[in-house]
């Protein structure tokens, strides 16, 4: 719709149905002759990605990352909601949209095994209307940058998993598309290669104004590559913020209290403004973590109350430190919650 965003998802929803014949139900233990089960793979997801931006989609297995990528590339049709790529609605202008995107999906079979990397690139280039001389030059450049130059005339079947993955990235980039979708691009890659891919994505987005959607499990990659991160769990987006803001928000929440002996934490958790309290054993004495609400005024009150409570319990307070969060902690916290409430909107 608006032209400044390269990708827009509006309330996109997808449920898959699986059919089971004469299978035992996990909970009831009863067998049913026929049963239709629903998996809510993507639950009313909204986000936009601007040009020149790398957006990271993080989530545990089965969270709905691949389904989201497939809906943007038109491989899966959303049940509800709309997806726009470069202002074009995917459902209506699918073939036009396909000219604008380069996609790397999971799996190693996205390239043709009896052909060499160079032949693969020229096959997919031909399939997608890249003209001869440009195609040749671009193919060589891509293979060179990704470190496959010495393998360029070896059949893909003889390449390692990581090398196949690199080739898949090259194939996605062969049309020089303005929108790049990478589904777990760095799984199975060594450090150098994943760094090479990261550098390329940063060059393409920050310098050349393309936009990229990257799904990954690798927190280090996400933290160093993505400008913005959306965390998805059970199909719903539980957080969607610029990377440093996301880390900030959560680091403000958690404080580490060092004490002489561990009090009954249940009582502490009942203090208003305290989200949770948990012990965290340290080498130099007992300590616990206190998770506080995000609202600043309430949090301040909660801090005072917590300290009063500790004094009342007769604890000796040694120190209080704010927990430095890594993306991994944030991720684990957000995704360990069973079924999150609606994400607080941006």
């Amino acid at each position: 719709m608006s032209n400044s965003n390269a990708i827009e998802l509006h309330d996109v929803d997808k449920t898959f149905y699986t059919r089971h014949i004469f299978q035992k139900h996990e909970d009831t233990g009863r067998r049913r002759l026929y049963e239709k089960r629903a998996v809510h793979a993507v639950d009313r997801v909204n986000f936009t990605i601007e040009r020149g931006e790398v957006f990271g989609l993080l989530g545990p297995n089965g969270a709905g990352k691949t389904t989201t990528v497939k809906m943007i590339s038109g491989l899966v049709r959303p049940d509800a909601g709309k997806v726009f790529v470069d202002g074009l609605e995917v459902e209506r202008k699918r073939l036009k949209v396909l000219r604008k995107i380069g996609v790397v999906l999971e799996g190693t079979r996205t390239c043709i095994w009896p052909l060499t990397p160079l032949e693969n690139l020229s096959y997919f280039g031909n399939l997608r209307d890249v003209k001869g001389p440009i195609l040749k030059q671009r193919a060589r450049e891509l293979l060179d940058f990704i470190g496959l130059k010495d393998k360029m005339n070896v059949q893909v079947r003889r390449l390692s998993r990581g090398q196949k993955q690199k080739l898949a990235v090259c194939i996605a980039l062969i049309t020089d598309p303005p929108v790049i979708l990478l589904d777990e691009p760095t799984t199975g890659l060594d450090v150098q290669s994943s760094r090479a891919i990261r550098d390329k994505v940063i060059e393409l987005t920050h310098e050349r104004g393309k936009c990229a959607l990257v799904t990954t499990h690798d927190m280090a990659v996400a933290q160093s590559l993505c400008d913005r991160i959306g965390i998805i769990n059970h199909g719903a987006l539980v957080a969607c913020k610029p990377t440093d803001e996301l880390l900030d928000v959560f680091s403000e929440q958690t404080f580490e209290f060092r004490v002489d002996r561990l009090p009954a934490l249940d009582g502490l958790a009942a203090v208003p403004g305290v989200v949770g309290a948990e012990p965290c054993p340290e080498d130099d004495g007992p300590a616990f973590l206190l998770h506080l609400v995000q609202d600043e005024a309430t949090r301040s009150a909660a801090m005072y109350d917590a300290m009063d409570w500790l004094r009342g319990a007769g604890c000796l307070l040694r120190s209080i430190t704010r927990r430095q969060q890594t993306l991994e902690n944030v991720f684990l916290r957000l995704t360990s919650e069973p079924r999150p409430a609606r994400p607080d909107g941006e």
Partner: protein, 268 residues
């Protein structure tokens, strides 16, 4: 436009693989010829004394039927087992994302594989004809016309079965059965079809291979030339072409969208 682009890419790919696996290609040809020869020798020895004179024609007719049958087997297979395999490996999604649409892609693919099938089977047929000294009539215009119609017919049928396989993955086994029936029909198809019981005759005409095989046998084996265009079998071929293509393409389009709904375009 898109068709030719995809076709070019497919041609390059097919011939690269053929060249790379030249040994397999060659042995495939020789084995095909060997199999046909065994069959023909069976025909000739089973027929008794009087068969001697007829053997040449009957044998080439059977061989031709088998070749057309294999052609049908291959083309329909591209849409069923081929499509299923591509879905399993993820190649289908890759093809689906080329900006020409799945239909154009499969048209071009099947066209290339039909070309290479026609190329190799005419070599085999020539070898067979030379071996049994049956005469083959090379009538370019009717032969090409009938081959083309056969191809169109099979494509239509292929799109329909392919669409079904796309959504209902378990129909793959049924598809193998249908392909075998096509081969069998192509071998036995002759003008004797007219004397079959009504139901069998209906099924034979409904399947896309019977009339095509009869027409081709008329031209290539019996040497009827242009005369074939006046027969009812040619008329049936035309009609079934129209029906199967429109039915197939419609069905495929619907199934394609349904498959996107169910997410079965990708990994099974």
């Amino acid at each position: 436009m898109g068709f030719f682009l995809v076709m070019k890419a497919e041609l390059v790919r097919t011939f690269t693989i053929m060249r790379r696996y030249w040994f397999a290609t060659l042995t495939g040809l020789i084995m095909g010829w060997g199999m046909l020869m065994v069959l023909i020798i069976g025909f000739m020895s089973g027929g008794g004394e009087m068969a001697e004179r007829l053997a040449g024609e009957k044998a080439t007719s059977g061989a031709l039927g088998l070749v057309i049958g294999m052609f049908a087997f291959g083309i329909v297979g591209l849409f069923t087992q081929g499509l299923q395999g591509m879905a399993r490996t993820g190649e289908l999604e890759q093809v689906y994302m080329s900006p020409h649409g799945l239909v154009t892609n499969f048209l071009a693919r099947s066209f290339v594989s039909a070309l290479s099938a026609i190329f190799t089977s005419s070599i085999m047929l020539m070898l067979v004809a030379a071996s049994v000294k049956g005469r083959l009539h090379a009538d370019p215009l009717p032969t090409a016309a009938i081959l083309f119609l056969t191809y169109v017919n099979l494509i239509g049928f292929g799109f329909m079965t392919g669409g079904l396989v796309l959504v209902f993955k378990q129909t793959g086994q049924v598809a193998v059965l249908i392909r075998l029936v096509l081969v069998g029909l192509a071998v036995v198809a002759s003008e004797a079809v007219q004397d079959w019981p009504l139901v069998a005759r209906g099924v034979a005409h409904a399947l896309p291979i019977t009339d095509a095989a009869i027409c081709l046998k008329m031209v290539v084996v019996q040497g009827r030339g242009m005369g074939v265009f006046a027969t009812s079998y040619f008329f049936f071929l035309l009609v079934s072409c129209g029906i199967w293509t429109s039915l197939g393409l419609t069905c495929f389009k619907i199934m394609e969208n349904w498959s996107r709904d169910k997410g079965t375009l990708g990994a099974y």
